[in-house]
């Protein structure tokens, strides 16, 4: 349906990979036996007090720096009150009106704020549905309770489900290279909720939004938002109103079901946490947070495009996938070879493809094809010493056995055929073999040339340069 624009904002929870929890000394864990990483503090025994984990603050500052956020000189923790068994104190220590970091920006999307808080414990509902309603009993695993979290909230700047998914991927790439979190959606160390609404195109106002939870992969994030946008558009088309509610995404069938309002409609009664003093980052902490801050992916993509002339698509892959980015940087550090643009295409195209085919887990830098060799290969093709097709064969050989591309060209006789009598002879034989196609071309139908080109390539085993072959065929057929 046209005329209604999507307005999407994301709320992202990032579990920090500190050694210990946010407010106690328990170690973080994933997949251990239930309730082994607990102490009187994270079980909220009477009389216990929280003490802020300084590493978590530094990690939070590092995220703030990477998102270009303004760091608050003084931020405070609040208590967010609600009764639920996943919250042993019956309040979550979070931040409210004085967050760690204020406005920032990533990839053209405004970041509203980033703040520190603690994760809830994990509820395991025993019974068929896996959710609290209709389950026979609920068990609590406090291992996760108190894990440090950074919550990042964007402005409602995203305009489609795909854009939201792409931005979330950019965020993950940005966070991954900071070494502060595992940022794994399946494991829950990266959790993305979406606030979704629609409004008439051109309107400056915001429609009533719904909040989508539990989309634990990028694909589900996109699907969930798409489904919700469609639902809202249908509601409005039917003359109904969108209700403000929280929707739970079910990955098994892609459905969205409202959480009972009783569970989630709260007056959280925020007030300043009296057990903690205000957080005032020292100059040392700020310095440590900024130290060795890697180039943000968005900036890297921009630099590859504008300074190195790399195509948009290849630049995005290199910038968002740090392993390929590093591979590319190494290749460009080699003393010679192809241009950045050509090398980028070989790395993000053929290399990514053949590594994925071989083994999804293989890291490019661990491959037998060295960055130096791939760049040299790009150079051979660029200088027309070998054809594009021959280049693919060389790359396959590099991935399979390593080595030097020039030596492989020599060994396998892959040097380009060009201009010489050899290529002309092959072209003439191909025209003879495809008389009908030749006639078509002579009559002025250039599309028919494909079959003749194919015959040339077949005979030359890919060593001929495609553009040159095409030109030569047209010349021979009087169409040049």
């Amino acid at each position: 349906m046209s005329g209604l624009e999507a307005v999407i904002g994301l709320e992202i929870h990032v579990q920090l990979a500190t050694r210990t929890k946010m407010f106690c000394g328990c170690e973080l864990s994933f997949g251990d036996h239930a309730n082994v990483h607990t102490c009187p503090i994270c079980l909220a025994h009477p009389g216990t007090l929280p003490v802020t984990n300084e590493r978590a603050v530094i990690y939070g500052l590092r995220i703030a720096a990477a998102l270009g956020c303004e760091v608050a000189p003084r931020s405070i923790f609040h208590r967010k009150n609600y009764f639920y068994p996943d919250s042993p104190k019956a309040y979550q220590i979070s931040q409210y009106d004085f967050p760690l970091a204020g406005p920032g920006e990533l990839g053209g999307i405004r970041v509203h704020r980033a703040h520190l808080e603690e994760d809830a414990a994990k509820l395991i509902h025993v019974g068929e549905s896996g959710r609290i309603h209709g389950s026979g009993a609920s068990l609590v695993d406090f291992n996760r309770g108190g894990t440090p979290l950074v919550e990042i909230v964007t402005e409602p700047d995203l305009r489609s489900a795909a854009e939201a998914r792409e931005w979330a991927q950019l965020l993950r790439a940005t966070l991954r290279q900071l070494d502060v979190s595992n940022v794994n959606m399946e494991e829950g160390s990266l959790r993305v909720d979406a606030n979704v609404s629609v409004r008439p195109e051109g309107s400056g106002e915001l429609g009533t939004k719904s909040e989508l939870k539990n989309m634990n992969s990028f694909r589900f994030l996109e699907r969930g938002i798409e489904a919700e946008l469609e639902r809202q558009r249908e509601l409005i088309a039917a003359g109904e109103e969108v209700q403000q509610e929280t929707l739970h995404f079910d990955p098994s069938d892609g459905s969205l079901t409202p959480l009972r309002s009783k569970e989630y409609s709260h007056d959280y009664r925020y007030f300043p946490e009296p057990d903690l003093v205000p957080m005032v980052p020292t100059e040392e902490m700020l310095e440590e947070a900024r130290r060795d801050l890697p180039e943000p992916p968005a900036a890297r993509r921009e630099r590859y495009v504008s300074e190195l002339g790399v195509s948009e698509g290849a630049a995005a892959t290199l910038a968002f996938e740090p392993a390929y980015g590093e591979y590319f940087e190494r290749a460009m550090g080699a003393p010679g070879g192809g241009s950045a643009a050509a090398t980028a295409i070989w790395v993000t195209g053929e290399l990514v493809g053949s590594l994925r085919q071989a083994d999804a887990e293989e890291e490019p830098l661990a491959s037998k094809a060295t960055p130096e060799a791939v760049r040299a290969l790009a150079g051979l093709v660029e200088e027309k010493k070998i054809s594009n097709g021959a280049g693919k064969q060389v790359l396959a050989a590099l991935v399979a056995e390593g080595g030097d591309p020039a030596a492989i060209v020599e060994r396998d006789g892959l040097g380009q055929i060009s201009g010489s009598g050899e290529l002309e002879a092959i072209v003439d034989r191909a025209i003879e073999a495809e008389p009908e196609a030749a006639d078509e071309v002579r009559k002025g139908n250039p599309k028919a040339i494909g079959r003749i080109v194919g015959a040339v390539m077949k005979e030359s085993k890919g060593r001929a340069d495609g553009d040159g072959v095409q030109k030569l065929i047209l010349e021979r057929l009087g169409q040049g």
Partner: protein, 481 residues
Amino acid sequence: MGELLELTASEAIERIRKRELSDDEYFEAYREAAAGDPLNAYLWLAPENHEQGNREGPLAGAPVAVKDIFCTEGVLTTAGSRILEGYRPPYTATAVRRLSGQGARLLGKTNMDEFAMGSSNENSGYGAVLNPWDPGRVPGGSSGGSAAAVAGQMAPWAIGTDTGGSIRQPAALCGIVGMKPTYGAVSRYGMIAFASSLDQCGPLTRDVTDAALLLSALEGRDPHDSTSVGIEGGIKLSGREDLKGLRFGIPRELAVDAEGIEAGVQEVFDRTVALIEGLGGEVDECELPHSPHGISAYYVLAPAEASANLARYDGVRYGIREPSEDLVGMYERTRAEGFGDEVKRRIMLGTYALSSGFYDAYYGQAQRVRTRIAEDFDAAFERFDFVITPTSPSVAFELGARTDDPLAMYMSDYCTVPMPLAGIPAISIPAGLAEPDGGGPELPVGFQIAGPAFSESGILDAAYALERAIGFDAVPERVSR
């Protein structure tokens, strides 16, 4: 044995150090004295030969009674509440660890108003504590068990907590010394929270010397409590016997013009002021214009914090649990069953004060009043070294006299509430005996000295000199043996 129990803790420690007294004999004497417990001061008493660790240090051999609000590993800790019936904490509060680390021995856990909410100790889930001077009267609260045990010679000394007067008021009503230190002087780790921004641990003792010794053992920064800082330079008693060069301000709002101060209390107060002047101290009136609003601010802020602090008692992990068909039912039944009326009243007050739409009018406004009260004290301390008031407007009142009138009960803390709101230290020392309004046997009257933040040593010095001049040596008839 009676003579043993009349010693101050410092005297007994000295004799133990000189091997004139066996620490076991001293401990057993108190254990026996406390065993009958006619005042209902104890909720748990150490068994015979109760294993205790360290016997070295400045407190070596001294038994100490600990308010049941402090967590003690493996030892019953209820905070006076039925909701924690049978709760044995997995860890020990820092304050208690510091005491045992310096040689003190845990004698027992003392009764208290439930979660420290009360001024008469009638709000305990385990029965009221009686005043050793008159068992028909209250000992004050909320550290009533600690005060009654010390005054009733069932403990040489004790620790308690003060949120709005909970150490000083019962000390006054029982005729002993009680001190609330500066907020942050003593760790709150392991001290069951009532109102986190106000709660502070302090000593209840027979005299000022003991208070100084016990406080010097308690104070100190604790990495487990981010709000703790300790007292720089520690506690030092100079032993001076005069008050020359010291200026004492009497705030009109809390003394001269205050309503509801009993005639007998006023008389003892005036007599004590004359003693101060006799010792060379300068006395003048001063102003704390916002202090009359202290009670109102306190009864917004403390319940607000309490409403969150007490939310963890949900029947899930410890304490009692009342089963129900569903989760909310379990929460409701457990809390309805486990909490007493006053606790419920304050949880409701505090929840309301924090509700969206009311936050600024109540919590926000109360915080602004709190800031004004602190500024009033700052201004007063530019002219004066100390501020002095009666500790309690009345002597110990009769059991049940105020239980149906929460506001009258709240006014018991009229003179003690402004200090914790400002975070400053204050002591109450016994200044004499007075008849209650309407007549009856004479009862103890407390005299309060407050000073700027971290002026504990100065306050104790002044209190020491004044204590000698007052010469208060009365003990309750029923315990004199």
